[in-house]
């Protein structure tokens, strides 16, 4: 418990209870408490402080210090609804105050106009439920700007000719250019592309009482010990707590939304650290638990009035999961880059953001970045060239030569929405609290695999243009692991085909709101967090307006 901050009793009927403290929950908590509301945020993970963050790969990657632990929270996986799902670690998300924003890479790309209207632009795609968003880029633009200035994003406005319109420049210049960025940039210019400094949610200058990046090199996967990474933990939660109206309650695992007879949500039920259950009462409930746990929570909340799960009259809760597609290419150069120093990404390419699908033979598009995001152990286990001896002198020589000389080109792209790709409750497997485990059903749309093959070829061409002698790529294949958890409670105007409206209010329950990756209608080009936060800033405005007009009722 933080001293001096407000704390409520579960029996206190607060204005809002927010489930989840990550990219969306943190922003909502800050905005709503600043707007004068009494807010309780329930976070299933611990409240870690900067001094708790280490650079220990074992603690972070293997002992799951910051993320969901497959041992206590098993996930099952299957490719199609006809298959029986097997226990398999297939979902990763942040499980601590700040959520996945604590450990993310911090690539902060805005969505472009196309991402909101691609459905009507390309028409019906067999096997996909692709439709337009009910809001446009212009609706979100002010909120993207808010994210950049309030959460803290470094970048160079106007550097990419493909960028959508913006109302304000970035509040800080880009972070330093790494060797990987220099090599990538020169190769890209040579091929006629338009590389630009990566927009990153990491402070390049001290700001709002937070330090700027010290370039420690333990970024992706790790918490930032100086608070330079613009996580909800560093940027939003302290502001929310300082209002004196917001309580962050960690180690609180919500497993049911409580609904009164008339269909009004009255609060949420959670287990505390000792597995005792409590009902936190609230006038309105906001689920920001991520694109896996938000639909799971709705399904867990089924009752006689809502037998298929809460807010699920459309049957769309959990459907249309879009994890984004991705593939990585590697190269080793002659001289040391020492790219282990610093944050991950310094250069990005958006020339492939909006491709002519008739020309390339697939829908969607993607972006590319140059990076080195591998910590020493992860490097030795996953980033040595194929054919490297697995042990002995040859292995040691390769580690010795390559660690300082390797870079990655990461290709990110769309996932088409497919109705059978989904999260649901596993009928057999239970978690350590006795609750039905999350079941993931997923098979990439063939289009997305085609796109990744194409992107991979472009990445290999870039490495050729860069003069890389040793280069290789990971295989393009069907994904069985999701980190970006998008689309599973999609936004829409039609209550028959969507779960929430443009105010993030569920069509079925008047005082129940959902805001996180689950709200997405399309997947963008592989960097969703900025849009999650822009949606959260916008949702906070809409919810505030509804509350002030007295329009939040069951």
């Amino acid at each position: 418990m933080t001293q001096g901050h407000v704390s409520y009793k579960p029996t206190d009927e607060v204005d809002f209870v927010i489930v989840g403290s990550g990219a969306a929950g943190g922003v909502l908590a800050k905005e709503l408490s600043t707007n004068g509301f009494r807010v309780v945020v329930l976070e299933q993970g611990p409240y870690l402080r900067p001094e708790d963050f280490s650079h220990d790969e074992v603690e972070v990657f293997i002992e799951h210090q910051l993320t969901n632990n497959p041992k206590s929270q098993p996930v099952t996986f299957r490719k199609t609804p006809q298959d029986k799902a097997k226990v398999q670690p297939s979902v990763m998300y942040g499980r601590c105050v700040g959520g996945s924003s604590v450990h993310f890479t911090a690539n902060f790309w805005r969505f472009h106009e196309i991402d909101f209207v691609e459905g009507s632009k390309v028409g019906k795609i067999p096997g996909s439920t692709l439709v337009d968003w009910p809001i446009q880029y212009s609706d979100l633009e002010p909120y993207y700007t808010k994210v950049e200035w309030e959460v803290g994003v470094s970048g160079l406005a106007g550097a990419s000719p493909f960028d959508p319109p913006r109302s304000k420049p970035y509040p800080m210049p880009p972070l330093p250019t790494k060797g990987s960025g220099v090599i990538f940039e020169r190769a890209a210019w040579k091929l006629g592309y338009h590389p630009f400094p990566a927009p990153m949610a990491i402070l390049s200058r001290p700001r709002a009482g937070r330090d700027s990046c010290v370039n420690c090199g333990f970024c992706l996967g790790f918490g930032c010990e100086v608070g330079a990474k613009s996580s909800s933990l560093a940027a939003m939660i302290p502001v929310a707590e300082a209002t004196g109206r917001c309580e962050i309650r960690p180690n609180s695992y919500v497993h049911r939304v409580e609904v009164a007879k008339g269909g009004r949500a009255t609060g949420v039920v959670y287990f505390d650290a000792k597995k005792n259950a409590h009902l936190q009462r609230a006038k309105a409930v906001i689920l920001a638990a991520n694109g896996a746990e938000t639909p799971r929570l709705l399904l867990l909340s089924a009752n006689s009035q809502f037998p298929d799960g809460l807010a699920n009259s459309s049957g769309m809760v959990g459907k249309n999961l879009m994890p984004n597609s991705g593939v990585v290419a590697f190269a080793v150069f002659d001289e040391p880059l020492n790219d282990y120093k610093g944050f991950a990404v310094s250069r990005v390419l958006h020339d492939f953001y909006e491709l002519d699908h008739e020309k390339v033979g697939f829908y969607g598009g993607g972006g590319m970045d140059a990076r080195f995001d591998l910590t020493p152990g992860a490097f030795a286990l996953s980033a040595l060239p194929p054919g490297t001896p697995t042990w002995g002198k040859g292995l040691k020589q390769a580690m010795r030569q390559n660690f300082t000389r390797t870079l990655e080109i990461f290709c990110h792209g769309t996932s088409l929405p497919v109705e059978t790709n989904s999260f649901s409750l596993d009928p057999d497997v239970k978690d350590a609290w006795g609750l039905p485990a999350l079941r993931m059903t997923y098979r990439d749309h063939a289009n997305d695999l085609k796109m990744m093959e194409w992107m991979k070829d472009r990445a290999m061409e870039l490495l050729d243009a860069a003069g890389a002698k040793t280069k290789w790529h990971a295989p393009v294949g069907e994904q069985e692991f999701a980190v970006h958890l998008l689309g599973t409670c999609r936004m829409g105007n039609d209550a028959k085909t969507s779960v929430i409206n443009t105010d993030h209010r569920t069509h079925d329950v008047g005082n129940l709101f959902l805001c996180d990756g689950s709200s997405f209608v399309t997947s963008g080009r592989g960097q969703p967090t900025m849009t999650i936060e822009a949606l959260a800033f916008r949702a906070a405005d809409r919810i505030t307006a509804l509350a002030k007009k007295g329009e939040i009722k069951g």
């Binding site: 280490s54 790494k178 090199g217 790219d339 120093k341 020493p376 040691k396």
Partner: protein, 188 residues
């Protein structure tokens, strides 16, 4: 963090390190296998990095379920050793050349861990498991109990510092800035 690393290092240096899971004899075998996976040359190897202490801790904590695999794997390796080299009781007692032969045979049962980030690679193969633990014990932050004195980081060329200023290496040394490069490339 530093204290834990110092403690582990002292234990290794004096040879009086207490193992919590491995028997003294098992620890001797594990260290010999690890030393073949990352041998000492002009730079430190697995023994110098105290990998065996990391593995002992792993078997008590995050990899406790692999202890039976170690028990069986080490026993099998010793048996192989005495079959192949009669009179040699254990892997650790074999000559380095003999150990190379034995690991060559053992490693054929496993393939290199493929692409994909570090994670709980489920593997029922003893060699793959001890290989993964050895690499982690060699390269993870010393607070994990391995990589003593940053021995592993010396090998790969990672500075033990945790704060850096650019330029970092050869390619960004004389970088003139994005605008300058853009202007130069557009002229061409």
């Amino acid at each position: 963090m530093i204290e834990a690393a110092q403690h582990a290092h002292q234990a290794a240096a004096t040879g009086s390190g207490k193992f919590e899971v491995l028997s003294g004899e098992q620890a001797r075998q594990v260290e010999a296998v690890a030393e073949q996976i990352i041998p000492t040359d002009d730079l430190p190897g697995a023994r110098d990095a105290g990998v065996v202490y990391f593995i002992d801790r792993a078997l008590k904590t995050f990899a406790s379920e692999t202890k039976p695999m170690y028990d069986k794997g080490l026993a099998r390796l010793n048996q192989k050793t005495s079959e192949k080299y009669p009179g040699t009781k254990s892997f650790a007692d074999a000559t380095s050349e003999q150990q190379v032969e034995l690991i060559t045979e053992l490693s054929k049962q496993g393939t290199m861990v493929d692409h994909g980030r570090i994670g709980p690679e489920e593997s029922d193969d003893f060699f793959q498991t001890i290989r993964m633990h050895t690499l982690l014990g060699f390269l993870a932050d010393p607070s994990s109990g391995g990589n003593q004195d940053y021995a592993g980081w010396k090998v790969i060329g990672r500075s033990p510092d945790h704060s850096f200023s650019p330029p970092y290496g050869y390619y960004d040394k004389n970088y003139p800035g994005w605008e300058a490069v853009k202007a130069e490339m557009e002229k061409k």
